[in-house]
């Protein structure tokens, strides 16, 4: 088996992995960054909208431009990018990687950062396997990356940020969005995105449950049911749609974390099974770090901060950078993370993350 020796191996080149690789390399470490996709950037590649918030977190930049920027900066710091390569698992001597031709490479590193992101959840209802019913991510990939329309009349299920932004992206690409169906009584995403949807005149049906999708070789109609007071008892609504996009949440991708053998915990707020980690993003397995959605589903901005922290910590553990400058940068990132987790929607995540750190010391 071919071998590859490096100081830091980062797995996953999304916002977290790119930030980790860039900061570890910036400290002087020899870094390899691997991703199973042929392009680096992860989900940022599909984000045609501008980020908002503070400049530190790329406000005013489109996700797809941020992906390019992070990639360029990583390469400038000397990060070696390995694209089209997936991690098979941890073995005694290192991590085995597999390329598109099924060739294996043994990557031996002294520190590892796992930044493999999240996977999309689905919901089952009669007809959910029909062609035309797909995940929100699939729709974004095909519409924004491959430039192929996924439907003329699309129903989005889920009014979180992913669902709201997807509806916006679909409309930009020329599809008619027949509506957004939400099981809860309120829109769950941010007001800034919900307002865009309102301005476009896309209806959001709250308090509804999907009863089923029908169609021959492709979905053609969806039925949902509501028992909301406003609807005057239980009622059913049939919506014609040739595509249904499921934006019903994400869960951390923990297969690799389970395989390496670090301690895991459950957190509903963070999306399910999550790796226990300390404030420096180290898992319970010394030398193995985690960052971004794989460490608990949050926002891309959080992923970038966590990635930077994991990269700095990994490099510091190898003796790069003075302790003083490391402590200063770490404190700065922790303050920034606190800011990002402020507010009514972030408070729960902050508490959940703190609990993860605590369960380590127990």
């Amino acid at each position: 088996m071919r071998q590859l020796v490096t100081e830091v191996l980062v797995i996953g080149a999304g916002p977290a992995g790119l930030s980790a690789a860039r900061s570890a390399a910036g400290q002087g470490a020899d870094v390899v960054l691997a991703d199973s996709n042929r392009l680096s950037g992860g989900q940022l590649l599909k984000q045609t909208h501008k980020f908002f918030g503070s400049t530190r977190h790329g406000a005013g930049m489109r996700g797809m431009d941020l992906a390019r920027k992070l990639t360029t900066e990583s390469e400038r710091e000397g990060v070696r990018l390995l694209l089209g390569v997936s991690a098979v698992g941890r073995f005694a001597e290192g991590v085995v990687l597999k390329d598109g031709q099924d060739r294996l490479v043994l990557a031996k590193a002294q520190r590892y950062v796992i930044a493999v992101g999240a996977s999309e959840r689905g919901i089952a209802f009669p007809g959910w396997t029909l062609p035309g019913v797909m995940t929100a991510g699939a729709a974004q990939t095909f519409v924004n990356l491959h430039r192929v329309s996924i439907g003329d009349h699309v129903l989005v299920v889920g009014s979180g940020n992913v669902g709201l932004l997807l509806a916006y992206h679909l409309r930009q690409a020329g599809s008619d969005v027949v509506g957004i169906a939400e099981a809860r009584r309120e829109i769950t995403g941010w007001a800034v995105h919900a307002s865009k949807i309102r301005r476009l005149g896309i209806p959001v049906f709250t308090g509804v449950a999907i009863e089923g999708a029908r169609g021959q070789d492709r979905v053609s109609e969806v039925t949902f049911r509501s028992s909301h007071r406003r609807w005057g008892g239980t009622c059913r609504l049939n919506v014609p749609a040739d595509a249904v996009c499921l934006a019903v949440g994400l869960s951390p991708r923990t297969q690799l974390l389970q395989q390496i053998g670090c301690e895991l915990a459950f957190s509903a707020v963070l999306g399910g099974t999550v790796p226990v980690h300390d404030r420096c993003m180290q898992t319970t397995l010394p030398g193995w770090y985690v960052a971004g959605d794989a460490a608990g589903v949050e926002e891309a901005t959080v992923a970038m901060e966590e990635g930077q922290l994991a990269g700095l910590s990994a490099a510091h553990g190898l003796g790069y950078g003075s302790s003083r400058s490391y402590e200063r940068k770490k404190a700065e990132i922790l303050v920034s993370l606190d800011e990002l987790r402020a507010g009514p929607l972030g408070g729960d995540r902050k508490a959940a993350k703190e609990e993860l750190c605590l369960s380590r010391s127990r």
Binding site: T48, R62, S119, P131, M134, A138, T141, I150, R218
Partner: protein, 104 residues
């Protein structure tokens, strides 16, 4: 059909016009369709209006694009005789022969 304009997004307010790339051709169940070089098989199929890429073994139920990134197995096809190739993650190649999987 000479150019792949089926369900392509030719104009986009942010992404601009669809970049020009060389066109190649792939055979889908014996019928040639155009494809853009560098795109996955599934993008070419969708653009040509092929929505059902396989039917299930037991019930013959139709399947198509679901996750789009190789995590599920809904879009498996046969490529140049090799079975169970994910259409969403495999790039087109001129002259490639794709067979959608059909239960008997």
């Amino acid at each position: 059909m000479d150019s792949p304009v089926g369900r392509r997004i030719l104009q986009h307010p942010i992404l601009g016009s669809l970049p020009e790339v060389p066109v190649c051709h792939i055979a889908v169940d014996g019928k040639w369709i155009p494809a853009r070089e560098g795109e996955p098989i599934l993008a070419a199929l969708l653009a040509a209006g092929v929505i059902v890429v396989r039917t299930t073994g037991r019930y013959g139920a139709p399947r198509g694009l679901f996750c789009g990134i190789g995590h599920c197995s809904d879009c498996l096809v046969t490529v140049d005789g090799q079975r169970n190739v994910p259409a969403c993650g495999t790039l087109v190649r001129n002259g490639m022969r794709v067979e959608t999987l059909r239960s008997a």
